[in-house]
């Protein structure tokens, strides 16, 4: 059985966060591993190798916000202030 519970809303400023796969600070500091980095899903490009150094080839997302404890470690570690958490 599940019980209703409000989860934190985490937003990532995609304009600022351009090379998450290279930076990876939030991905590796999060105790609950709620972040996820995926390659851009251009259908026609899916068979090509992509260079993570190029802006916008990888996108950071939050996949498990139900696990966020709002410890704010990701906000502290982010060098470009791209993460916001609302409780």
């Amino acid at each position: 059985m599940i019980t209703a519970r409000k989860f934190p809303t985490i937003t990532i400023d995609q304009e600022k966060c351009t090379v998450p796969f290279l930076c990876k600070k939030c991905l590796q500091i999060c105790p609950e591993a709620i972040f996820h980095v995926v390659r851009v899903m251009a259908k026609e490009k899916r068979l090509e190798e992509m260079d993570p150094r190029i802006d916008g080839t990888y996108v950071l997302s939050v996949n498990r916000r139900d696990k966020c404890t709002v410890c704010n470690k990701c906000i502290e570690v982010c060098p470009i202030d791209a993460i916001k958490i609302e409780v």
């Binding site: 019980t3 990876k24 899916r46």
Partner: protein, 280 residues
Amino acid sequence: MCYFCKEYGDPEFGDGIWYLNPTNHARNMYKLRLPGERFKGAEVGLETGVHEGPTIEDLINATEKGDYEEYASIKQTIQERGQGSQVIPLEDADKVLELCSPIGLMACICRKGWRAIDERNEEEYTCMGMGAGMLKWERWPERYKGGVKFVNIDEAKEWNHLMDKRGFVHILMLFGAPFIGGFCQCDYPDCGALRNAVDFGLGTLKSHYVAEVDYDICNGCGICAQRCQFGALKFEVTSEKANIDQFKCYGCGLCETGCPREAIKLVRRETRPALAEVWT
């Protein structure tokens, strides 16, 4: 009996366990997918695009609303869309490696996604691909950036034992049942298959075994407690011995292989009637 065994098991081989039935490893299994039919799970993966239909995010939103019906329906859709996977203990993994060909070591896609760990060379690889599908690896340059290291059975077993020593859970990944396309070395939380299974009871089935402690031999050293990824095994303070919740146990056998005194044994799940159908 798990649903894979019902469909693909043969009592003559491996006590009816599906992955020990040599027929399921025949080279032509890969071709048995009907042309034009988009197979469940065949296009799943970071490099191929997102799923159609509901995602884990929708499941979380339903939890937030407390809408149980929506939650159950989303869960069922995701479960049916999945390709299927199952935990197997080390001993069975060795038997599977004898049946599969070819076998190639490769980078883990889950650690790449969850922790941005980029495994680029043979020493770092923690994932294994097997079967005819591996021969086409060059079609996905993004997925196989560091290439594939093809290994023989003995090398594969040696690697597998090394992974077990490090403490990874072994999971067989199906790319269209009963075709086994991958053999993953997983841990919580950076592995998708394990994570969805532990958090939501989705995807990965428990193994055909459960672990049991022989209290006469166990001296309470606690080594096994460090190896359990599922919170099933703990050090029981009162008795000063290991204690296993067999309903939580996934039967991965890491506690068994880690025990210095051979105090933990795996027993077949069917031998415990209340556990016989506990697969998630």
